[in-house]
Amino acid sequence: MFSEYNIDIPKSYLAKNQSELNQIVDKLEFPVVLKSQLTVGGRGKAGAILKCTKKEELAPKFTELLNKVVKGERPKIILIEEAVDIDKELYLSLFLNRGKRTYSLISSSQGGMDIESVENKVIQDVSINGLSQSVAENIAKNLGLNGVTATTFAELVTKLAKLVKEKEAELAEINPVAILKNGTCLALDSKIIIDDNSLFRHPELRKYIQISELQEQAEKSGFSFVELDGNIAIIGNGAGLVMSTLDIVNDAGGKSGAFLDFGGRATTETIYKAIEVISKLSKVKAILVNLFGGIVRTDLVAQAILDAYKDGMISVPIYARISGAKSEKSRQMLSNSNAKLYDTVEEAISSLVHYIGLSK
């Protein structure tokens, strides 16, 4: 994406495995830096960036990074980048300022660190419609840059602002921006978060989407799905309600393994599909269903649960709190199954956590 905006980056290659690495090894000029390609931040601190001064170090360090899990994420690909002759490192980012309903720019003469710990940072508002050359030049001046360095940095700022505007990014961060001994600017590391809701206007960005197969399946059904570390899957209608349920489970000593918000209306079909997504996670030992709707027909939900058991999709117990109509009928429907209905979410969670405790 940076090449489209003429933002310079170091000469680099990507490799997924040893054989791809072998194909590029002879092209490399050492020293090089290996960077694990992850969607989570803080990889430098986590040891997912390694320097190689000679060819012999390359293969073992490459393997080390491929196997290194950071915050639950394992890289699929590693970036191999030629080291550059750096004079200084700066920080630059543009992000959506939610409270002010505009974009803000952060710059700092201290790059390469976690921005929260960066001192001397300058924050200023910029218009959604981009920023002028004079504002960009001022930013460079405030960072203590001058001469050709100031000019190239100001250019970088305008290029990044253009990218943010045109690609509808929520965040575009270059950290660090390397100022080389010859005065040019390179983006050494960067992170761009695109507004997912604008993707229908940006078919060219689809190739960057990295989601798991399961997540893709969930999204196709219109669900929001997040895989977590624990063994209790939580299904509900509404992001806030599912988050709230996660918290209560956590307070009760349970650990959530999945967040699934099916949104909208609870029908037999949506609940069945939600259970289908969860059934693919072998770590799940129990399912908690928390539905609130006033107009939800609980018998439709009970039917989906019965179908899921009957079709052999799942065997783990389901603890359900469903506030809605026909709950007496639903209770009877589920009486011979591995699922149980509760009046409050607290009761459902307490039984569930008790069960998980016993099954350990």
């Binding site: 969607t39 989570v40 931040g41 915050k71 639950g72 959506l96 939610r98 409270g99 309903r101 505009t102 976690d114 921005i115 929260e116 959604i128 509808e168 929520e170 507004d195 997912d196 809701n197 604008s198 229908f200 206007r201 929001s224 997040v226 977590l228 509900g236 209608n237 509404g238 992001a239 806030g240 309600l241 599912v242 988050m243 709230s244 996660l246 918290d247 209560i248 489970v249 956590n250 307070d251 959530s256 967040f259 918000d261 949104g263 609130f292 709707g293 006033g294 107009i295 506030s323 409050t344 979410v345 607290e346």
Partner: protein, 304 residues
């Protein structure tokens, strides 16, 4: 803001108004699947829906409600200041522009997945014309037993004197349900919306009720992401907001950098974390409930 936006005046009016409690409402996107179902439900609840707008369907009617091609056409026939927007997200910005250009002053924006840039532009457009947007990605606003513009079920809500402002739809229902069950009714319940950009943010929602004597307390339902709760605490301190407030924050156990269902529910570093929000509330002695079910008893204690 020079003059305070009086949402009760817009939604209900003054006792002397000829249409007091029956203010006309327009629905943009009324003939769609979603729009038609909720038009029926809103009407059953008491909302005076006078017209719908769907391009190319002008001249038709839905259950006796006339449909127009444009807001302009509808406004020739009805003096309407409130619109419920039910159009799909890609058409949201155009719908807002059309509405405010034709005299709509309160827009309740239901659609989810509105691009941020469109939301910002829509808000600028509304502001320039002295109009207010609730949402997008909101369940809407309800004045229990009087009217509602939105998609919320009516069962959880009862008439009373508290105000519920929530960043989450279902939690607005859940919390109101618990309050109603405990005998605490609501004067107003309003969904802020789950997006990063909100037409009416928490501060502005508090501002809507700060001078309303009949609102005796406020329940604020926050969640992870952004800093709306932290800013709200700043506002409460600065304005010496004098009604009792109970807070709830969803997402204490949510991991960082994962979008939890809502476009706006994501933590970066400490920015947007539940701890940050809870400690802000605690700093000004606003009690924070651990579970929705605890909210009524905490509020009852405060009101003693």
């Amino acid at each position: 803001m020079s003059e305070k936006f009086d949402i009760f005046d817009i939604l209900v009016g003054k006792p002397n108004d000829i249409d007091y409690g029956k203010k006309p409402v327009l629905i943009q996107g009324m003939t769609g699947n979603f729009g038609s179902v909720h038009t029926r439900l809103m009407r059953e609840y008491g909302t005076n829906i006078v017209a719908g707008v769907t391009p190319k369907k002008g001249g038709q009617s839905f259950e006796g409600i006339p449909v127009f091609d444009s807001v302009k056409d509808a406004s020739k026939n009805f003096d309407v200041k409130i619109s419920g927007i039910f159009v799909p997200a890609p058409f949201f910005l155009a719908a807002v522009k059309e509405a405010v250009d034709n005299g709509i002053k309160l827009l309740v924006a239901i659609p989810e997945h509105v691009p941020i840039r469109d939301a910002i532009e829509a808000l600028e457009c509304a502001q320039t014309n002295g109009a207010k947007i609730i949402g997008p990605n909101t369940p809407g606003v309800i004045l229990p037993t009087i009217m509602k513009v939105g998609i919320m079920p009516s069962q959880p809500f009862q008439k009373g004197n508290t105000a519920v402002f929530s960043r989450s739809g279902t939690l607005m229902y859940e919390v109101s349900f618990h309050l109603s069950k405990a005998g605490i009714g609501q004067k107003i319940a309003l969904g802020i919306g789950g997006d990063p950009i909100n037409g009416t943010n928490l501060i502005e929602a508090f501002d809507l009720v700060s001078d309303i004597d009949e609102v005796k307390s406020v329940v604020v339902v926050g969640e992870i992401g952004g800093d709306a709760e932290e800013s709200l605490v700043g506002y409460i301190e600065k304005t010496k907001f004098n009604k009792p407030v109970v807070a709830y924050v969803a997402g204490r156990s949510a991991p960082k950098e994962k979008r939890m269902g809502h476009a706006g529910a994501i933590i970066y570093g400490n920015y947007g974390s539940a701890e940050s929000k809870i400690s802000s509330f605690s700093r000004v002695n606003i009690p924070v409930a651990k579970r929705p079910a605890e909210i009524p008893s905490i509020l009852q204690n405060l009101m003693k």
